[in-house]
Symmetry: C2
Subunit: 333 residues, 2 copies
DNA sequence: ATCCAAGATTATAACGTTATAACTAAGTAA
DNA sequence: TTACTTAGTTATAACGTTATAATCTTGGAT
């Protein structure tokens, strides 16, 4: 079992048959013994396991998969925007961390801008490429959720939808907005501007609810920036924000839940020489390096990845989806 | 073929056997026809393909894999630092973009801090979990490269090693350093500071060569920051840089090839109220939002992912590694 | 008419695993 | 004794595909 040796070069790759011959047992017995079947004598099981180890046996995934129908694969389907900053990578880090302690493997698909988000999922389901699926940025009436519910395929989302009967993990954006407003109020701001997420996403609603309620409770004025699109490039982002902040009745405190738009807002404020208090939602660590440093409310995506994976594995094991709905609170660094 | 229908619920999943029965041909013929075998009559091939489409046939990956020994999987092995900013996600985006137009799939492994980098690779090779491998951050005498050469397993690295006989993709850090020095010289800087990468990595050497040569040619003074470690957190980074910049004989121009240390340097300069010209190597888009905006020399990781994948596929097809060595020039946005 | 080659299709077997049912030996109840 | 259980092991078959070798046509050359 030396790391340096090229495995199985020259000598044939050991299979259960090899073990069977070595121990004088039947292949079936070997299979059962390796699976830990109670009906095989303890002594036999030990003998088989020892032989397997010595021979350097590793089960053939393809054969197992063909026979059992299980792929032992979890698939993460990324949207085209996931390479923006850390979201995708952090999510993957979290998933990979959990997955490596299980028999599961992680495969990644990413569809391109303008493509049908259902297509890769359809492809995975149709080709039986995975046992379970993860994806993010849900919409209220998400087409992917529609599809997977109908196909009865195990999945978990990052973000909620209008269906409340599937497994999901979500960041508590209502609480985020609430805290952000109060943070700014404490700084003396009275006209609080929010750069809202695209209304296409489900969490837009929660964000707005939290915002509106906190604004009302604190007796403040709430202002909304013009809408953004994830496809907007840096310049467009910059101009829109600039126009808004230069308008009449500008905010005296700013909330930016989107990491990219928050960076843009920070830059605009700098360019305009304004020093508004700014609250951002940080999913990576960039804002720790911005000056002046904004107020930061964190969302831990790596942790999200971990919890999502754990939940999905339980889902695939038969647990009911309704028990696998996780609302993650904001964390304050 | 409607998107909405749950595939294969109730009715059995169509196999080549289903097609064979439907067309009155033998399974073997169907297999060959689907593979486009020239020895099957054109007419028959058409008939089979038509039937396959109508029945919604998709080949069973597990069976193909078991029979042929090919996994059709490319595996990306990430180190623990890849979730820092965009590297991992961008690389994945590039790989995914290419892979989706091929029969290959992408799986991800990420090992944890302090773990043996060879372990996941050993695991993949031993379990035949992939046909080809990608990994980054190479060292001159990289243990992973050692292992894979010996195992004769197809792989491509991001970054060079002391072995010149494997496929690699590398960013031209020598050229980067050269350009960076001259940019700063053009701004009037004469004492140029470099925050060098860890000497553990191969590219440290190229970076230093480019730096030293350009410094000499321009007749400038070259300065090096104290060493960094990717494990250093934001505070340590900050303190080290601060100490260096506050020392006697500080630089009057700064080069930061590491994105994280560049952000830290930017913050320190801000905190100290200094306005040194700063050149960074940008692999995401963050620095477009920093003020004052540093001078940016770009490294396109998504493009790297694309080229790496294309090269790996050609490698697996039998092309010789020496023809698959790509040196990517810096790009100036 | 016979033979042969080329073209097209097919039968057979195998990849490595596991579910199912069948078998054997030993022990227990009648 | 005989029947019956239980523990332990095994034979058989199958998952869906493809490589190999074998078979069957057909048409042309002799």
């Amino acid at each position: 079992m030396t790391k340096d040796a090229a495995p199985f070069l020259g000598s044939a790759k050991p299979t259960q048959r090899t073990i069977a011959r070595a121990t004088g047992l039947a292949v079936t017995t070997v299979s059962k013994a390796l699976a830990g079947d109670e009906r095989i004598a303890e002594q036999t099981r030990r003998k088989v396991r020892k032989a397997a180890l010595e021979l350097g046996y590793v089960p053939d995934r393809a054969a197992q998969r063909l026979r059992t129908g299980k792929t032992n694969v979890i698939s993460l389907v990324l949207d085209p925007h996931s390479e923006l900053l850390g979201f995708g990578a952090s999510m993957i880090a979290g998933i990979a961390e959990v997955v490596r302690q299980t028999p599961y493997h992680l495969t990644i698909m990413q569809y391109q801008l303008g493509e049908d988000p259902v297509a890769p999922i359809d492809y995975i389901v149709r080709n039986r490429l995975a046992d379970g699926l993860i994806f993010a940025r849900t919409e209220p009436d998400d087409a992917r959720v529609h599809f997977l519910r109908k196909a009865r395929f195990p999945f978990i989302t990052h973000g909620r939808t209008n269906f409340d009967d599937h497994a999901w993990y979500d960041y508590d954006n209502r609480d985020f907005a609430d805290r952000a407003v109060r943070m700014l109020a404490r700084q003396g701001a009275t006209r609080i501007g929010l750069v809202p997420p695209s209304p296409a996403y489900t969490y837009h609603r929660f964000m707005m609810e939290g915002f509106d309620l906190a604004i009302a409770q604190e007796g403040l004025t709430g202002l909304l920036s013009p809408g953004f699109d994830l496809n907007d490039d840096a310049d467009i982002l910059h101009d829109k924000l600039r126009g808004w902040l230069l308008g009449d009745a500008p905010p005296d405190g700013l909330i930016c839940p989107g990491e990219v738009s928050a960076m843009a807002a920070h830059a605009v404020l700098n360019d305009l020489g304004r020093d508004l208090p700014l609250v951002v939602k940080q999913t990576s660590s960039v804002f720790n390096y911005f000056r002046p440093r904004p107020m930061i409310i964190g969302e831990d995506i790596v942790q999200a990845g971990r919890q999502i994976t754990t939940a999905l594995i339980r889902l695939m094991a038969g647990e009911t989806p309704r028990n696998l709905q996780i609302l993650a609170p904001p964390y304050l660094p």
